[in-house]
Symmetry: C2
Subunit: 655 residues, 2 copies
């Protein structure tokens, strides 16, 4: 009798080899980190003597599952902000919080939490992309899991690097440190083609090639991303990254939601791995990847959970079920992606996608002992039909839950025994995670309470003059004013004609002020749109003081170029009220007695008003200067023949 | 201090009233079957004295969930047959098994199993449609659950009725027995408009109206169903059932996957309830219901699991998650069906859909005490962010699992304590369920092993003559034969020209014989298709004996009209090989010496062969008669001038 460490006996063994062999009363023998034998239980128990025989009767014994794409430390951001659009979620919440909180400790705690959750749901290998991957690696090795870990590279500063050169350097150090480790495959992870310009992509490709390590990146996750690629590069994403050498590496492409048949073929020919993330793609409404076409093309396809912030868990049973359901529902074919094919995606498919199928993904002697034992006897899996041996696939995909996973081995080491995770101090990690969440809550509460802080969080802000002197006069006929502008004493510095589309966001607390989103269409001679500028202005509550003929307003003003959509700002700031104002504006910048004034001749189209309005404005940081300017406005009104005219006190938005 | 039975204290209370009020540290007081108070924990604990105070710290306290559509005894058919098309699944497996096994005992065991599973996942009310509903009711009451139970009515015989009149009568008795019961709302359940002709629908409507009970039916589950309705009735399904009075009842319409905006409005105006079943609709590839439009229209919308045979479990957490994900993914809008709206669908929405919102669906004093307590502190729900009180909805929908449900009350009675179901003997029911599954397995194994039994299971079979005498001769030019047919001694009884499209299914065991699916296009004078007939023929293995010039074949032959598609038979019989044969055939039925023969002059188009083939055939039950006919065929060949011609031994399919 040959000695082995462990025999898992009497379960239904899912070999997941080419023939998808099933052994009804089977056994798996493990010695050190290796699978020594897989056969009928009688045969294995007759030929090997084990230190421990684990009874797996009533269980499925299957290859440890492969989570082909995640950002494991993001477990700590689980449920941070849900039901938001991708950009609001990412730029409004995830990125500001990451800037503030992500450090080696955060990453280690998050990785431990994620490893515990994945072990519980039967995962033994995952593919990661995050910051401080050296700390992710340490936590992963402690937890006993196997992982492909990609150090993130971005063109802009990230929590662990001031520049992309720093990221690449950190990647090189990370790869040198971990290459050859029995559990960790270091990788380089350029975040995406749209966050990594060609030279950055090329530097990543060079590094992956030099060390022969995988390159993990996001590909064609959203339709918008593909549209932008077509617009900017004249081609969709796969040809673009091919052009920059990514397909010559051991590529792991996450998502691939919006790829066409040609791109699938290109990926297949290049031997690229693809990670399908059904929960994340649905939850963020990115779409549904063409999984049926990918399987037909023979692509190396696995399933991933994506990060917890967009899922909100790391449960491969949910991903399997969803992968199968959504393929059937979308294709209209209930026979597509059946249970057996789904289990393949979650095991050997994932192993192929991570370029690790020579080591893992099937229960074959000589491969690493990554094994998951799933209890099939739960109430929600009763009764079981035995007539068709293949029914075990259907039980696993359509009825099993993560809570049915009983035991897990990785690289021959037992990570879970009777649902008890052995390699992570779960209560301690949960407490640490909760403490970080408490701090993030406090940070966000402080920010959420303050519109200005939220504005600062998304960047690009400038403060403007506090004092504004303003007069506004309704006119039946603007003729007199426009001709008066040519009078001596007034010099016109520049003028323009524009259409302005303003949206005002207001908040429950009026002290928070008001945000104006403006699209400014500057018109040419023929009335054509020459240029569109968008801007964002936060104005604090107004303190008014009336002058003889004009009004002095003092308030805080912050402006920024609005480089995201009105929709983004609406969802990000969540105003309680929103009002639109539209007008046609003729604007003059004039100089009068060495002082600059803006004159606006406005015709209001929303809310529609007859006639015109003339505004004369000037701004300053000084209350003293404001009074001087108020006097000058009074003089200007006389010059323009408007003395004695009725003055309007309201802003257009309050009309 | 007012006395109550139980206070659930210190949980986050989800009231699910109009204002979707949340109480961060709340309490619910229960006396008898009623909710007495819902308020801040301090207030409730200060005003009421309870026999038992249950600490719900770290938990969500929410209305018991409502499973708005299921067939609860079908838990016993869970995983019976998966990855099949609806018709194969239903007519090939579910219905034959139901015909054989469904009886009152089956129904009671299945209902107990289903109740236990639903209680574990936080459901307190379900809406059922099955047979022997009186037994479902008894099992439900024992388990302490609330239910709307619909006695099924079909035009054809069902496991509990020989005719639809019997079903209606059973429905009347069932309603009279259970009407007014504190937990059971009896209902009538015409299965669907396509299985219940107008008079049957009308009888159900009359019954529902007479007793003022709900009418539960399937509506527009598949695109095909709607297409057929348009073809047969000139209108889609909702107008059709409206025409027959169903919208004047307390309607509960399951699925509504393929309904247009007008139909949604019609259902809404009628106050109909609709049950959305995302898992079932995806798994069977029926499609995705227009949930966003339904919610916008203010429809009474709930979520259901459908039966276990098409899901494969009764897990409302999975349904909630899927309902939200699929709405986002399909609409492309990540803001749609957010977590709070999803919880509404699973609670008050379901209550409205079942016309029970005056009693259940929200935690409001005076309503029935149907309460579910969900532990939010699991690893897969860590960490939790508290800054936004609404985050609890997101935790419940996006991260919680059925296994997080800790306690359940229904009608004031505790059904689960610390994850232990109190009202169902779970191990006993599981054992009974497994025993039934064993018997079903044996029944199906016997059937599956035998193609003939599978053919018999789907009905309409006739046995044909065992002996066939046949000769087949290749011809370069058929002219001689066709003119020889006019010779004296031969009388032509009838003739026809047809195109035949044959598909042969063969099986691993050649003793099982071969199935031929034939589409026979009978052509008119001008070559137009006059008629198409489809037939199915099972031929057993051939025993051959050669005669002088012809071949005697003896084998079993069974034929049936093929009233389902080739695709159905393919998926049902699962052949290991499939071959197509196509030909143009001129056929004569002739009489020669008082004996009938069939003459076929065939031109093979698939596999394509040059020239023609002449077949002369005759059949008989008697081997002695077969020999006589073989002699006559030899004479006929001489008459037709074909003596000495080469004879072909192969059938076309073996060419």
């Amino acid at each position: 009798m040959t000695k082995v460490d462990t025999i898992l006996a009497h379960g239904i063994v899912l070999v997941m080899d080419e023939a998808t062999k099933l052994i009804a009363d089977g056994a798996v023998a493990i010695r050190d980190e290796t699978i020594v034998a897989v056969d009928a239980a009688d045969a294995v128990l007759g030929a090997y003597q084990a230190d421990e025989v684990v009874d797996c009767a009533g269980c499925a014994v299957m290859p440890g599952m492969v989570n082909a794409h995640t950002h494991v430390p993001m477990t700590l951001l689980r449920g941070l902000a849900d039901d938001l659009r991708l950009d609001v979620w990412l730029m409004g919440y995830i990125m500001p919080v990451e800037r503030e909180f992500v450090n080696p400790e955060f990453v280690r705690i998050g990785a431990r939490l994620g490893c515990a959750e994945m072990i519980r749901s039967g995962v033994t290998t995952f593919c990661d992309m995050y910051y401080f991957e050296d700390d992710v690696a340490q936590a992963t090795v402690e937890a006993g899991m196997r992982a492909v870990l990609g150090q993130t590279v971005l063109i802009f500063p990230s929590p662990d690097a001031q520049s992309y050169e720093d990221s690449i350097e950190a990647g090189r150090n990370f790869i040198e440190k971990w290459k050859g480790h029995p559990l960790i495959v270091p990788a380089i992870a350029p975040h995406a083609h749209y966050t990594c310009p060609p030279d950055v992509l090329r530097a990543c490709v060079d590094l992956a090639t030099e060390y022969n390590v995988p390159l993990h990146t996001h590909v064609s996750e959203t339709a918008l991303e593909v549209e932008e690629s077509r617009k900017q590069h004249g081609m969709p994403v796969v040809p673009w990254i091919k052009k920059h050498g990514l397909l010559e590496t051991k590529l792991i492409a996450a998502h691939c939601v919006h790829v066409d048949v040609g791109e699938i073929r290109t990926l297949q020919r290049a031997g690229a791995g693809v990670a399908h993330n059904p929960s994340s793609n649905l939850k963020l409404a990115s779409g549904v990847a063409p999984v049926v076409e990918m399987i037909e093309a023979g692509l190396k396809l696995g399933i991933g959970t994506d990060g917890c912030a967009s899922n909100n868990d790391l449960d491969m049973f949910e991903e399997m079920r969803l992968a199968s359901f959504i393929a059937k529902g979308v294709s209209g074919d209930p026979l597509t992606v059946p249970a057996r094919a789904t289990i393949m995606l979650a095991t050997i498919g994932g192993a192929r996608a991570l370029h690790l199928d020579h080591l893992i993904g099937s229960l074959v002697p000589g491969k690493r002992a990554d094994v998951t034992v799933v209890d099939l006897s739960a109430l929600h899996n009763t009764p079981r039909f035995h007539r068709d041996p293949e029914a075990v696939y259907s039980q696993l995909v359509y009825a099993c839950k993560a809570s049915d996973v009983r035991d897990v081995w990785c690289n021959g080491r037992r990570l879970m025994r009777d649902r008890d995770v052995l390699t992570v101090d779960v209560p301690a990690v949960m407490a640490q995670a909760q403490e970080i969440a408490r701090k993030i809550d406090a940070f966000l509460v402080a920010r959420e309470g303050n519109v200005l802080d939220k504005l600062i969080a998304i960047g690009g802000l400038a403060q403007e003059e506090t004092y504004e002197v303003q007069v506004k006069i309704p006119l039946d006929d603007p003729q007199g004013v426009t001709s008066s502008l040519r009078k001596p004493g007034i010099s016109i510095e520049r003028s323009s004609v524009r259409r302005q589309y303003d949206t005002y966001f207001s908040f429950a607390d009026p002290l928070q002020g008001r945000i104006r989103y403006r699209e400014d269409e500057v018109l040419g001679e023929g009335g054509d749109v020459k240029e569109v500028r968008s801007s964002l202005t936060l104005t604090g509550p107004v303190k008014e003081r009336e002058f003889v003929r004009s009004v002095l307003l003092s308030r805080s003003r912050f402006t920024a170029r609005a480089d995201r959509s009105k929709r983004f700002y609406r969802e990000y700031f969540r105003p309680i009220e929103e009002r639109d104002v539209q007008k046609e504006r003729q604007r003059w910048h004039i100089r009068y007695k060495e002082t600059e004034f803006a004159l606006n001749l406005d015709r209001l189209t929303l809310p529609e008003r007859p006639g015109w309005y003339l505004e004369i404005k000037s701004r300053t940081w000084s209350p003293r200067d404001a009074e001087v300017k108020a006097d000058l406005i009074r003089e200007l009104l006389e010059l323009l023949g408007l003395q004695g005219q009725r003055v309007t006190r309201s802003e257009y938005v309050d009309f």
